[in-house]
């Protein structure tokens, strides 16, 4: 349903330990955000991009589609950087604006690629139960896991309801569209809580008394992967430091 989620569940890295992928992707993300953008973010972003299309084999259309929403935000937020406000009535070009917008955009793109490197290779069902080991209360991870399970059912419902409304002329005018939207929101609200009640009954039958603990699949940590990751991160940090660049 969500292309990133499907990629994570079908890609060649899906059975890797999520810790490995977190180290790699979040390490690169750290480099992209915390190191001076040139060459730090550029190197991290390039590494993430190469890993995504190379060994992780995430389809290019998935990446392009994922980039659409952030691209919109980045574009609108870059505009104000190009102008400067001298007084409430006087605007001017900001001479340093183009550079600021370019660096920020570059860093944002690099960051996006790093996050995708994690999210498009790592199924959330692998991540959530393991967060307990990082000190997140089990109640919170279990609520998150239930949210994850149920959101697919609900988003499916939204689409089905929208299509059914379109068939009954629900999107004919602005007015009917608003009425349809209300129907969608109301329908998924009722559905969400019907689902919760039915799942409660279904789990009672399975013996639920308060814990939703499950057995988390064994995933072996690959020492080669970890060593290679650390080497890559070290190389990026070293190159950036040696180049003598500074933040901004």
């Amino acid at each position: 349903m969500f292309a990133i989620d499907v990629a994570a569940h079908t890609g060649p890295w899906r059975l890797r330990h999520p810790g490995e992928k977190a180290l790699l992707a979040l390490g690169l993300l750290g480099c992209a955000v915390a190191l001076p953008p040139w060459p730090g973010a550029a190197l991290a972003g390039t590494a993430a991009a190469l890993l995504l299309v190379g060994p992780a084999r995430v389809p290019l259309p998935v990446l392009l589609r994922a980039a659409r929403v952030p691209a919109l935000f980045i574009a609108t937020s870059a505009l104000p950087l190009l102008v400067s406000v001298h007084s409430p009535t006087r605007l001017g070009w900001n001479p340093a604006g183009a550079e600021a917008a370019a660096t920020t955009t570059g860093r944002a793109v690099a960051g996006l690629l790093c996050v995708l490197l994690f999210s498009a290779t790592t199924p959330l069902s692998d991540v959530l139960p393991r967060l307990v080991r990082l000190g997140v209360p089990a109640a919170v991870t279990e609520v998150a896991a239930l949210t994850y399970r149920m959101l697919f059912l609900l988003v499916d419902s939204v689409r089905a309801v929208r299509e059914a409304q379109a068939a009954r002329l629900g999107h004919r005018t602005w007015r009917t569209t608003y009425r349809s939207l209300t129907g969608q929101a109301g329908a998924i609200f009722v559905r969400a809580f019907t689902r919760a009640r039915r799942l409660e009954e279904g789990l009672a039958v399975r013996g639920y008394t308060g814990s939703l603990a499950v057995q988390v699949e064994d995933r072996r940590v690959s020492p080669t992967f970890v060593v290679a990751t650390v080497a890559l991160l070290a190389a990026i940090v070293a190159t950036t430091t040696v180049s003598g660049a500074s933040w901004r």
Binding site: V33, S84, V85, P137, L146, L151, A196, T209
Partner: protein, 207 residues
């Protein structure tokens, strides 16, 4: 109004995590206690989270031509109270960052602050105030959702202005710049979400 990945300077990104953390930790404690008292609450909270996420699949037609989706924080805060909403909102923002590349991980702290903390508290405050002053349910819900949405947008503008102060007029000028640009899309959207929330609550109370 999700700040994209990598958009904030590292120190500020980290600072927003520090600012948000106490609220989310407090919300988590409240959630853990609620679930301990009533194990079935876990399923309701999961459903509430899924509902909030699913709202982002709705497409509100916007006068500017583009369409956008509701945040659901106003309605959520009225229905589930702000402390719990801070946790559910964080979970939803995490999923949006990972499943939709909407927002980001390094900017999660900032987005949580605007959308899962300030938005819900303003919405809830507006709701309570309107009710105390004798306002009807419709009015209270409209104000909650609209003001919650506007507060989120204002906080985001401030967060961006802090990160990118205007070279000539500094922070305040930058607030005006970012605020002005986003006002075009966010004010109609906040009003749209307010109307939608009223209609949804009407639908639900009639049921």
């Amino acid at each position: 109004m999700h700040i994209a990945e990598g958009y904030l300077p590292p120190v500020q990104a980290a600072a927003w995590f520090v600012v948000s953390a106490p609220f989310v930790v407090h919300g988590s404690r409240a959630l853990v206690q609620q679930v301990r008292r009533d194990p079935e609450a876990k399923l309701l909270l999961g459903a509430a989270g899924a509902f909030t996420f699913a709202l982002s699949a709705l497409k509100i037609p916007s006068v500017t031509g583009s369409s956008s989706h509701p945040t659901g924080t106003g309605l959520g805060a009225v229905l589930f109270r702000p402390p719990v909403m801070s946790v559910l909102g964080s979970i939803v923002l995490l999923f949006q960052a990972l499943l939709l590349a909407h927002g980001g991980l390094s900017t999660l702290g900032a987005n949580v602050f605007s959308m899962a903390i300030v938005g819900p508290w303003v919405a809830y405050g507006a709701y309570l105030l309107a009710r105390r002053l004798g306002g009807g349910l419709d009015v209270a819900v409209f104000l909650a959702a609209t003001l919650g949405g506007l507060a989120t947008y204002c906080v985001t503008s401030v967060q961006l202005a802090l990160a990118f102060p205007d070279p000539a007029s500094g922070f305040l000028g930058a607030v005006a710049k970012f605020g002005g640009i986003f006002a075009v899309t966010q004010i109609p959207l906040a009003i749209g979400e307010g109307l939608l929330s009223v209609l949804v609550v009407r639908l639900l109370t009639r049921v």
